[in-house]
Symmetry: C2
Subunit: 208 residues, 2 copies
């Protein structure tokens, strides 16, 4: 099965700006991508990074082929879906993903298998229905379900906390510190982040 991991090279993870400088956000985004590529490789996939610009970081180029497509996420993915199916698409900001989670998604025989993100996004999906096209705007999980129904395709939602945890906001880093076992977890620890359990809700603090 073909497998793509979309990656935005320029100014990634802007919502992490309150806790990370631009170069740090770039570095963490690349590190999370590496965790995703590692899980995919262990699952037997040879993923292609679908990047908005050329990637020079050899941690990425050592792990995967890179295809540059400078269009927005939705048309870039739809161009790949028009080429061939089945296709697996996994977002690059899922540092908790483990091979078993990928397997769960791939094992489903539905026309469209979706791993929803928290907040209604689509964090990973397998498209087996050749006519299906994505639209990542807004509550894309619900839109993708509706689009599948319109094509008379079956839909399955995979129940995975790890696939649901995309890293966008500072509070999402809590999940990586608690559950992460890969490079992104180590990156955060090396950068001085630790859990803050002094308040009612677990947060992060940074020792710099």
């Amino acid at each position: 099965m073909r497998c793509f991991v979309p990656f935005a090279v320029d100014t990634p993870k802007s919502r992490l700006a309150p806790v990370l400088r631009p170069a740090e956000r770039q570095s963490l985004a690349t590190t999370m991508l590496c965790d995703v590529l590692d899980a995919l490789e262990t699952s037997g996939f040879a993923p292609t990074v679908l990047s908005t610009a050329p990637v020079t970081d050899d941690r990425v180029t050592d792990r995967a082929a890179v295809t540059v497509d400078d269009r927005a996420l939705t048309p870039a993915i739809n161009a790949r879906l028009a080429e061939d199916t089945p296709t697996l698409i996994v977002m690059a900001d899922l540092p908790l993903v483990e091979p078993a989670d990928i397997q769960q998604l791939v094992d489903s025989e539905a026309g469209i298998s979706i791993a929803p993100g928290l907040g209604g996004g689509t964090n990973a999906l397998v498209v087996r229905e050749p006519r299906f096209r994505v639209d990542y705007h807004g509550a894309s999980y619900l839109d993708h379900r509706q689009a599948a129904v319109k094509l008379d395709a079956t839909v399955e939602a995979v129940d995975s906390r790890r696939l649901a945890t995309d890293i966008d906001e500072p509070e999402d880093l809590v999940e990586v510190l608690i559950h992460g076992t890969g490079a992104a977890h180590d990156w955060l620890v090396d950068a001085g982040f630790e859990l803050d359990t002094t308040g009612g809700r677990v947060g992060i603090q940074r020792d710099v």
Copy 2:
């Protein structure tokens, strides 16, 4: 296997105050409890509600036995663990839970099987190790792992988005509107809540 669902009768779900009046929070909390009890019953359990005060709502008393223990959550649960194991404990604010999720937790053979909540909590657990005691304060998932290790007990973390989604904050209601199929979903719809997909992040709005 014994099964308890702790329930705080007085002023539940205070962090939902920005969007729900006290009587509404009480009603939604009871409705979510009913969804949890239904999932447990379908899974073959006869759950006992471990309540801080007597429960009069017949939606609850029709579904489960009620034991009153007015202590805080941690000592109330530990008193049950001291009586007998294995014991299943499921929080009352998990309206997305489905029987398959309970089954996944129960199927694990670890001394302690935990379904972590987002933010480091412990949303459900099966205790097979008789000496294990809970401590729900702070990042209890990590504390429970550590406590199990100290007892030389095996630990397994269940990977379930639905068990990870406890409802505390207004933004958590987004998950119920998107994924809910039970009474809590219907309660929110009847109360006029709907998704707000006009911004960058999916939110809720209320038509009152």
